[in-house]
C-alpha cells in the first residue's frame, strides 16, 4: 500500500548517476496475469525479458496464465498521476492524505471491433502490464530480487475499453483506459534498456483464436473450415500441425492424409473409427490459439 512516509528509519541520499535511462512515452503494453497457474506471484527473469527467444515462448504459451498479451502500438498515450490529496485545515495548513492515482489512456488506431471484446476481459481477472516505450526500453515492477521483474498491476475495476467510431476527420480507434493499482509506486518501476533487448513492440504479436466445426462426410473422411475470431481464414497449416484424438478410447488417431482443399478448408482421410465414437481435432501453430477448435468434437460415422 502506498504510504506518505515511513518515519521509522529516515535516511536518504540524492545522488543521481550521470546517465540513467528513465523511460519514455509508452508505445505498447504487454498484459500479463498477476499470478501463475499455481497461484504464485508471477515474476519473470530479467535475462528472459531481454531475449526474444524466451519472449516468443510466452507469446505462444498454451497455458493462458503463462501467456504474454501484447497490444498493437498505441497512440496519444497519457500515463499521468493525479495530484496528491491533501486535507486543508481552517488555519490554512495542509496535510497530505495520499498520493494521487496513476491513470493510463491509450488508443489503438484502426484496430478491429472484435479486439474490444478481448480487451474488456482484462476487467475479469488480476492483470498487470509491462510497458515498452518509444525508445524501446521495457518497464516493469520491482520483483523479489534484482534478477526478476513483475508486471505493473492494474486495478481491474477501472478498466474501460471503448470503440471510437471514425469521423470525417478521425480514423476509428479503440480507447483503452485504466488505473494502476494504488500500491504501484513510481520509484519501484524498473527499466531494461533497449540496448539490452533484442526485440521491440513491432516484433510482438498476440494470438488469434481459431474456431472450426469438423464435419464428417463418411466413416473415413471429415472436413473443417478454420476461421479466426476476426472472420479471416487460417491457411497454410500442415498435417503435422494437427492432432486427432478418439475421446471415447483416449487413443490418438493418425490421419492418412490432410488436404487444404480451399481457403482455410482442410479435408482429412482417417482410418475408420467405431461408429458413435467422439473425436477431437486440435492443432498447434505459433500465432494461433486453437482451444476453440478443440471444443468442437464430432461423432464418427
Amino acid at each position: 500500500m502506498a504510504s506518505v512516509c515511513n518515519c521509522d528509519n529516515v535516511s536518504l541520499n540524492t545522488g543521481v548517476p550521470s546517465c540513467v535511462a528513465i523511460g519514455d512515452i509508452a508505445r505498447c503494453l504487454i498484459f500479463d496475469t498477476e499470478l501463475t497457474s499455481t497461484g504464485l506471484l508471477k515474476e519473470r527473469d530479467v535475462d528472459d525479458l531481454e531475449s526474444f527467444a524466451s519472449v516468443e515462448t510466452w507469446l505462444n504459451a498454451v497455458n493462458f496464465n503463462d501467456r504474454w498479451l501484447p497490444t498493437p502500438e498505441l497512440e496519444n498515450v497519457e500515463n499521468i498521476r493525479d495530484e496528491a490529496v491533501f486535507q486543508e485545515f481552517n488555519s490554512g495548513n495542509k496535510a497530505k492524505v495520499r498520493d494521487g492515482f496513476k491513470n493510463f489512456t491509450g488508443y489503438l488506431v484502426q484496430a478491429p471491433r472484435e479486439l474490444v471484446g478481448q480487451l474488456k476481459q482484462l476487467a475479469c481477472d488480476d492483470f498487470g502490464a509491462y510497458i515498452i516505450d518509444k525508445s524501446g526500453n521495457l518497464m516493469g515492477y520491482k520483483g523479489s530480487s534484482t534478477n526478476v521483474m513483475r508486471p505493473i498491476l492494474i486495478d481491474k475495476n477501472t478498466v474501460d475499453v471503448q470503440f471510437v467510431e471514425a469521423t470525417d476527420s478521425e480514423v476509428a480507434m479503440i480507447m483503452i483506459k485504466f488505473q494502476w493499482k494504488q500500491a504501484m509506486l513510481d520509484e519501484n518501476i524498473k527499466l531494461i534498456s533497449a540496448d539490452e533487448m533484442d526485440y521491440g513492440c513491432a516484433d510482438l504479436y498476440g494470438l488469434l483464436d481459431v474456431c472450426g466445426t469438423p464435419t464428417p462426410s463418411s466413416a473415413t473422411e471429415f472436413s473443417v473450415t478454420l476461421t479466426t475470431n476476426y472472420g479471416t481464414k487460417v491457411t497454410g497449416l500442415l498435417a503435422g500441425d494437427f492432432t486427432l484424438t478418439n475421446e471415447t478410447t483416449s487413443a490418438s488417431v493418425t490421419p492418412t492424409s490432410v488436404t487444404e482443399s480451399g481457403n482455410g478448408v482442410y479435408d482429412f482421410v482417417i482410418p475408420a473409427q467405431t461408429t458413435g465414437d467422439v473425436l477431437e481435432l486440435s492443432a498447434s501453430k505459433d500465432r494461433y490459439d486453437f482451444s476453440c477448435l478443440a471444443e468442437s468434437t464430432f461423432v464418427a460415422l
Partner: protein, 58 residues
C-alpha cells in the same frame, strides 16, 4: 511419422504403406482420379509389379 506432400495433399507415408493399391484407390479415387496408382507408388516407394511372360518352350 513422416508426411509426403503431393500437390495440396499431405499423405502419412506409414499409413499409405499399410494400404493395398486397391484400398488406396478406393479411398482417394474421388480426389486423385486417374493419378491414384502413380501417387500410391510415389508415396510408398513400392515397385509396380510386372507380370512375367510365360515360357512357351518353342
Amino acid at each position: 511419422m513422416s508426411w509426403k506432400k503431393v500437390g495440396k495433399h499431405e499423405f502419412n507415408v506409414e499409413a499409405v504403406k499399410s494400404m493395398t493399391l486397391s484400398q488406396f484407390s478406393k479411398q482417394f479415387q474421388k480426389s486423385l482420379g486417374d493419378n491414384c496408382e502413380l501417387i500410391y507408388y510415389k508415396i510408398t516407394g513400392k515397385k509396380k509389379s510386372s507380370k512375367k511372360k510365360k515360357e512357351t518352350g518353342e
